[in-house]
Amino acid sequence: MAHLAEPAAEAANRSAPRGPERRERGRSPRSRFNPAYLFVAPALLLAAVFIVWPIIQSGWMSLHDWTIGDDSHKWLGFGNYTELFHDSRFWNSLKVTLVYAVFVVVGQVTIGLALAQWLRRTTWYTMLLRSAFFFPTIASLAVTGIVWKFLLDPQVGLVDGWLGKLGFHAQAWLQDTHLALPALIAVGIWKNFGFSMIVLLAGVQGVSKELLEAATLDGAGAVARFRHVTLPALRPAILFCVVIGTVNALQLFDLTYVMTDGGPLFHTESIVMYLYQRGFVDFRLGYASAIAWVLFLIIIAVSVVQLRMLRYRDDD
């Protein structure tokens, strides 16, 4: 397209009257005000008031001993961050969050990809299965958490009831320090793989049939076609799923709040959960803001790394 566009632009330049162009250039920037700015102004204003300003304000609060309701707030500089650095519970919550994010993102993208490949043809039963697999994505996280908490109850839950009938001992899934986080991860994957499946399904269906046929004619088997044709074509979709999935997973709160309350013994306490505890239970908003800023920086860093690792060009 670029080759075609250049001569046309040159022709247009040649045929344009020189005088008016000079006058146009001579106008002040103010006279060339683009009215589109007025259309985006309300949205920009809302974003500035409700997103940008709170971010800046929380950064300011993180530098103070800021307790809800206090008349004055003592300046601490980076005191909250220093305390955070030595806070074992913060490091524990960071570890829990990262472990959760890694397993959930890998799990949801892998399962989503496998299902997208399996359900790529549109028939009545694939449509039925796609809907069934996508359903958890649209269910509320809090509702999902309550339902799974009930299902996993070791005394009255369905899961242990069935396991008992198969001859297994009941497991205290959410009360056992070794099982609680894996159980939470499993629910997190179940909740999210439908989203990855739908995004990747669109990608799979968009893979060039010509390329696939050419690969087949060249003797490539199903695995080779998937690896060398489908997978590279899905790179933008996978990148999207990974970035969105990671950002969501790093903000884990609802599920653990409802299912485990961060327990047992902080084994499922995520960063946001810990932030909530310090900010809205202990009223230490300055310290909670410092936690929020660390999480903010972590999300930016992880997203940048992912974009670099999975970067692609249209002509790849």
Partner: protein
């Protein structure tokens, strides 16, 4: 140019519409005022449970008997109250009265920010006064800071022993346990099925609940924090009690590990546990679950009769425009007539020790009031001790941790939080 003017006008109109959309939802909020000679008082509470109608009925009764005051009670989840009330009251806004939290320890946060009104002006023994001497002494002590009374009990409850009569009969036990030794023996006898119990002797919760474990410590002379603010969690009596009950859970499987209060209730309701320590609010649910339930006083240990009390503080905003009416409301709320009516409709014991209770099921809870104790009362750091130290300690002990070492570590953490130097 004309096009630009039209576009600009459209953009301005769009902006105004957006602004109007934003502002349309900003006029709500709790307020108070007076009009036509009637003073309007707003009360914010967190009574979202089944006992909510009983509080509403009390407010209606007050409104009917006080034509010059109209009280409106707004009920919101505790979390929502905790997030907005501190800032509202600190800036002179919000409701005239509120129950800031179900944890009485939270009153310190509001006193510290000078947000609440001392009630001393209305304290007295007259019918139209707040008779703090009629409250259980532990409650008056918890709500009195630096010699000033800052809150009254919006409700008051004690914990008693619920037991499944059918399970007791099946086990050949005629009566509920009366002593701590009988309690331990019965809990063991009522646990069936060994390592994978089919029936638990007791349903103990260790988080998101009214605390059960402090009762087990207090029964035999143990405690968590002493009156001087120094930890007593690692005293010999405390460690022995914690060790005994953690051993019963860990080795004898008398209760599941790591239950919330709701889990514990579900277990008892599902007829999978023979006993549970709980407050009066649980009785209805257990009966509706079809359990032939008995309610008995907490068994008595070597330290004499004791149980835990739970109370929700009700406070007045310092900057309310209607101090006199707000104090009048609290005086009436804590009066004999209102407390008798509330006890009858809610099943809670009255907040006063001088009100007679006829219902034998409520009487069990009311009779325990004189010896009931509040959990971590009078400690500004109570919520942090609970969430950061005591609850994790119980989690460690019931999963096999050494009682003395864990209690020593907990004592160290508690002393850091309370500022105890010894």
């Amino acid at each position: 140019m004309k096009t630009h003017v039209k576009v600009a006008a459209a953009a301005v109109a769009a902006g105004l519409l957006a602004a109007a959309g934003c502002s349309s939802s900003s006029s709500s909020g709790s307020g108070s005022g007076s009009g036509g000679g009637v003073v309007k008082l707003s009360v914010l509470t967190g009574f979202t449970g089944p006992d909510g109608p009983s509080y509403q009925a009390l407010v209606s009764q007050f409104n009917a008997s006080h034509p010059n005051i109209k009280v409106t009670m707004d009920i919101q989840p505790w979390d929502a109250i905790g997030q907005k009330l501190p800032a509202e009251w600190a800036t002179g806004q919000g409701p005239d009265l509120a129950t800031p939290n179900f944890d009485p320890g939270v009153i310190f946060n509001y006193i510290k920010t000078n947000s609440v009104l001392p009630l001393d002006a209305s304290v007295g023994t007259g019918d139209a006064q707040i008779n703090s001497s009629a409250f259980p002494s532990s409650v008056t002590k918890a709500f009195t800071v630096n010699g000033h009374l800052y809150a009254v009990p919006a409700n008051l409850a004690t914990v008693a022993l619920y037991y499944n009569k059918a399970m007791f009969t099946a086990a050949g036990i005629a009566d509920p346990p009366k002593t701590s030794d009988e309690f331990v023996a019965d809990v063991k006898k009522l646990t069936l099925g060994g390592a994978s119990p089919t029936q638990y002797g007791i349903s103990l919760a260790d988080h998101q609940t009214i605390e059960m474990w402090p009762i087990l410590q207090w029964m035999n002379g143990g405690d968590i924090v002493g009156p001087d603010g120094c930890a007593t969690i690692n005293s010999a009596a405390s460690v022995q009690a914690l060790s005994t009950w953690a051993g019963l859970v860990q080795n004898d499987h008398v209760s599941p590990v790591g239950q919330t209060g709701a889990d514990a209730d579900t277990l008892f309701s599902a007829k999978k546990a023979a006993m549970e320590l709980n407050g009066p609010w649980a009785a209805d649910g257990f009966r509706k679950a079809g359990i032939d339930v008995g309610i008995a006083p907490v068994p008595v240990g070597s330290a004499g009769p004791v149980t835990i009390a739970s109370t929700v503080p009700m406070m007045i905003a310092k900057n309310t425009k209607h101090k006199t009416e707000a104090l009048e409301f609290l005086s009436w709320w804590t009066g004999k007539t209102a407390q008798a009516a509330f006890s009858k409709s809610s099943g809670f014991p009255p907040s006063r020790t001088d009100v007679t209770v006829d219902d034998p099921n409520v009487a069990v809870f009311a009779q325990a009031l004189p010896t009931a104790r509040l959990y971590l009362a009078g400690l500004p750091s109570s919520s942090q001790i609970d969430s950061d130290v005591y609850t994790p300690l119980l989690g460690q002990l019931t999963r096999g941790a050494d009682a003395q070492k864990s209690a020593d570590a907990a004592a160290k953490s508690i002393n850091q939080l309370t500022g105890c130097k010894s």
